[in-house]
């Protein structure tokens, strides 16, 4: 039956920021759909731990702030497998910092990973894919890229820029068979969110950040809510989607109130 055929059989994928959270869940999902996944992270042990859970996984250390390292990663994968079919530019960081207290150092530290890192991933993967017959690039944006997001000005600005970058990349690369789409999650219960709940509560003057999210999203998201979307966008089933944003937020951004 066609429904039982893995949709990513024998596809070669790179997932950045794959040591934990969304990146790890996406690596597991792509693997379960038949892809060979190269899990990368600045935390090499974490990447190896994720890769160990995969049927066909391997890992590599990669700091996406280092453009030459991203270029070398892509070149290595293409040299060994002859192709790169899927790039998930997922690596990202955050701090909880009011705008007026945000030093240039903090600002640039987040932009370096969340925007520069995505740019390097898109440009090197895009070039390799264009040369080998096409592929699917998935960027990890966020609903914070669409709306004001208190205490994370750097993160939200980077995600808005990632959405713009995704659209331009899609249009520039579509003639070469390369698709570029952005996933925009709401608040997902990863370490990134869980470990900062009390900081949000303190800075926003609220008692229970979880209750605020329950009201806005119905519930806190889970990494498993997002991972199948990445597999869909990576697969040929979404072959007419390009330059689009795909929101997964339990309805948070659909409501004005």
């Amino acid at each position: 039956m066609t429904t039982r055929t893995p949709v990513l059989k024998d596809k070669i994928a790179i997932v950045t920021g794959g040591a934990k959270g969304l990146g790890a869940a996406i690596a597991v999902e792509l693997d379960s759909e038949g892809a060979r996944v190269v899990v990368t992270d600045i935390d090499g042990d974490g990447a190896a731990k994720t890769a160990a859970e995969l049927a066909r996984g391997e890992s590599a250390v990669c700091d996406v702030r280092d453009d030459a390292a991203v270029e070398a990663l892509v070149a290595d994968v293409v040299a060994r497998y002859g192709t790169l079919d899927i790039m998930v530019a997922n690596a990202g960081i955050v701090t909880i910092t009011p705008l007026t207290e945000m030093t240039m150092e903090i600002w640039h530290s987040v932009l370096a990973v969340n925007l520069d890192g995505v740019f390097s991933s898109v440009r090197h993967a895009g070039r390799a894919m264009a040369a080998t017959g096409g592929g699917s690039i998935i960027t990890m944006a966020s609903i914070t890229g669409f709306a004001g997001s208190p205490l994370i000005a750097h993160y939200a600005a980077a995600k808005a820029a990632v959405i713009s970058l995704t659209k331009t990349a899609a249009v520039e690369l579509r003639g070469h068979g390369v698709r570029v789409n952005a996933i925009c999650p709401g608040f997902i219960g990863t370490d990134m969110v869980q470990e900062r709940k009390s900081q949000f509560e303190q800075a926003l003057g609220i008692d229970d950040f979880g209750a605020v999210l329950d009201q806005a999203q119905g519930r806190l998201g889970e990494v498993g809510d997002v991972a199948p979307l990445a597999a869909f966008l990576a697969s040929d089933r979404s072959r007419f989607s390009n330059g689009s944003t795909f929101v997964v937020d339990g309805g948070m951004s659909a409501s004005l109130v």
């Binding site: 659209k167 249009v171 119905g218 809510d225 330059g243 659909a254 409501s255």
Partner: protein, 254 residues
Amino acid sequence: MLSDLKDKRALVTGAAQGLGRAVAELFLERGARVVLTDIDADLLEKTAADLGGAAHAVVCDVTSEEQVAASVRACVDTLGGLDVAVNNAGIEIAKPLVEQTEEEFDRLMTINVKGVFFGIKHQTPAMVASGGGAIVNMSSVAGLGGVPLLGSYCASKAAVLRLTETAAIELRAAGIRVTAVCPSFIRTDMVARLVNPFEGATGANFDDLVAVKQQRLGTPEEVAEMVAFLASDDAKFVTGSHYVLDSGLTGSLF
């Protein structure tokens, strides 16, 4: 597996042809049982027969609240419940706005907007009784921006997005997700009918426009894949959102 719809009980409106038919066909392939509705009884019978034993035909004019309610009852009677509904039935008018008549405008709005409203309204209690569900509404990139000759169609598809968002928020606690799909130009009879009026009114070559803006026409099967994803449990945290498929048309300034 991705976008599995095994044992889902589904209703698709406007299913005799075009996008609706493609959605029904893919749903069946993914394991769903499907009630197809359409106003064109003859074509609907033929389509349902083509699609085989798990496809059931129910004639329905979506502008009649009574008929929409009856089609949902028929679905529940036939399939034992309702898990997925696709509000797809719609028409177009391809004329400059100032040439569209009140009757034409009202008819389009009644089918494209009120038909979706009736759908959501009557599908909801059946889904609540089934323990939750997913509604996917057919919008369009025409709901996101202006298109010459399609003024009333654009307005109707924008209205579908606002209905989708509000329904998503109101129905979330009931376990019902409501989403929309926004295709650009797809290889359907509806788009084929646009070519002559469009070229006559704008002087532009339609094929060239498609090639520049979206490389090629999309296919009904590609739209159906996105509907199937949104209808499936793989999209369990997606609600109130509209997913575009347009090969970059709305993503580019040029």
